[in-house]
């Protein structure tokens, strides 16, 4: 079996994206979703229920009394907060799968994913990009999911990838492609396909290092994910092993009309938001 075939098999064997989360997302996508129906979907999963109540009762919301019913909590949090909680919960389990290869720096993959999702939201809000918030959040959160699968296969090729990166000529993703014949973005796209995510998300994950290759209708989404990725890597929320060997996409800044001075403001807004998000998600290192 070729390496690519082995990896395709590994993608097929990957656990499905949690059904409860997928069903809840579909229900929430309806403009007039019913709270009772949503509660029915969520209540079968105890850990999700516990997390919803925990977030609702956290100091961040500062409610005057304790909320103990799932229905009340769902109403209180609202659709957007609920979507983000469900997605982050599911994604964190996928990224934190103990593994070797890329994930030698414990937790870094997940912290980077969360940081990219936060950065993407900051870019969207601050620069007023007209793009669906939840599609963007999901794509940014899952953009590196390919690394989870790939990491089990790169152990013996890893040194070769590293050496190419050390020359300073290749980005990490380019080195993967030269060494393996494909890269983590491509594999991530295949995982998203297997999970039956919409085309927009599959595209953004597949091309987050090469946004110019994205289909036109999904290009802006892909560009924001690409830029959010570059910026979080720049600041240091990287994946550890690849260091800062990531392309910056200067042209993207011009195209999106982002000035050098804006970058500093965006980093500031990002950091403040990241600290808040890490507190909510119980992640260390905001």
């Amino acid at each position: 079996m070729s390496l690519m075939e082995e990896i395709i098999t590994a993608v097929d064997e990957m656990p499905p994206f949690p059904q409860v989360v997928q069903r809840a997302m579909r229900a929430l996508a309806e403009p007039d979703y019913e709270v009772a129906g949503l509660v029915d979907i969520l209540k079968v999963d105890q850990s999700i229920t516990a997390n919803i109540l925990k977030l609702c009762n956290s100091a961040y919301f500062g409610l005057p009394r304790k909320v103990s019913s799932l229905k009340e909590a769902v109403v209180y949090l609202g659709a957007n907060q609920l979507r983000q909680l469900l997605l982050s919960g599911a994604a964190s389990k996928i990224y934190e799968k103990p593994s070797s290869g890329y994930t030698v720096f414990a937790d870094e993959l997940w912290r980077h994913a969360l940081a990219t999702a936060v950065m993407a939201q900051v870019l969207r809000q601050h620069l007023r990009f007209k793009i669906d918030e939840n599609t963007l959040f999901t794509a940014a959160l899952l953009h590196d999911v390919g690394k989870v699968v790939l990491s089990a296969f790169v152990i013996d090729k890893y040194r070769a990838i590293e050496q190419l990166v050390e020359t300073g000529e290749s980005s990490f993703q380019e080195a993967e492609r030269q060494t393996l014949g494909f890269d983590h973005a491509e594999i991530g796209g295949k995982i998203a396909e297997k999970w039956e995510f919409p085309d927009a998300i599959i595209t953004a994950i597949s091309f987050h290092h090469e946004p110019a290759r994205a289909a036109k209708e999904f290009r802006l989404l892909t560009e924001i994910v690409a830029l959010a990725n570059s910026l979080t890597v720049m600041v240091g929320y990287g994946t550890g092993v690849d260091g800062l060997a990531c392309r910056g996409h200067d042209l993207l800044l011009k195209k999106l009309k982002i000035e050098a001075r804006d970058l500093e403001k965006l980093v500031l807004l990002f950091q403040l938001e990241m600290v808040k998000t890490c507190e909510d998600a119980g992640v260390d290192g905001g």
Binding site: V165, V233, G238, E264, L268, G285
Partner: protein, 160 residues
């Protein structure tokens, strides 16, 4: 013996010889370590951005986020533990860049430039530094002897 984490946009000072201060994931950010070997007082700052004028309100609440606010604060806090400016050993790490031919994503460079400028104005000399490139650094400071170790992506552990 305890490991004290200095978060992103954060600073810590100590005079407990058993402490190791550590800051993780320095990309474009800068880690500044200052140490007085006579009184064995040290401090570590992890700042993200050069200049707080981009948002004065936020700067007031998060001084360690910015070079222009965080650096003076780091020195002041070490002085309050008995450190003396004349004896300070100064070490700097970070200021990396992603791959960007046009140099637009140059916050790392700007973070370093403002530090040089502030030190020049105040007659402060850097004793050692490891700046730039496209690696990720973790910085450790031993309060007992002021030793600084860096864990650099792709290189491993080195003493600064």
């Amino acid at each position: 013996m305890s490991l004290v984490t200095v978060g992103i946009a954060d600073l810590k000072v100590s005079k407990d010889p058993g402490d190791t201060l550590v800051t993780y994931s320095l990309g474009s950010c800068i880690g500044l370590a200052i140490y007085d070997p006579v009184v064995k007082v040290g401090g570590l700052l992890h700042y993200m951005l050069p200049d707080s004028s981009i948002n004065k309100d936020k700067a007031a609440k998060n001084p360690a986020m910015f070079a222009n606010k965080g650096i003076p604060l780091l020195f002041k806090e070490c002085y309050s533990l008995g450190a003396d400016k004349k004896r300070m050993i100064i070490k700097v790490a970070g200021g990396s860049q992603i791959m960007d031919d046009a140099g637009t994503f140059n916050i790392g460079k700007r973070n370093y430039a403002i530090l040089r400028k502030m030190f020049w104005k105040n007659n402060v000399m850097i004793d050692n530094e490891d700046i730039g490139g496209n690696c990720n650094r973790t910085m450790y400071m031993e309060i007992g002897d002021g030793k600084i170790n860096l864990k650099i992506s792709k290189k491993g552990m080195v003493e600064l």
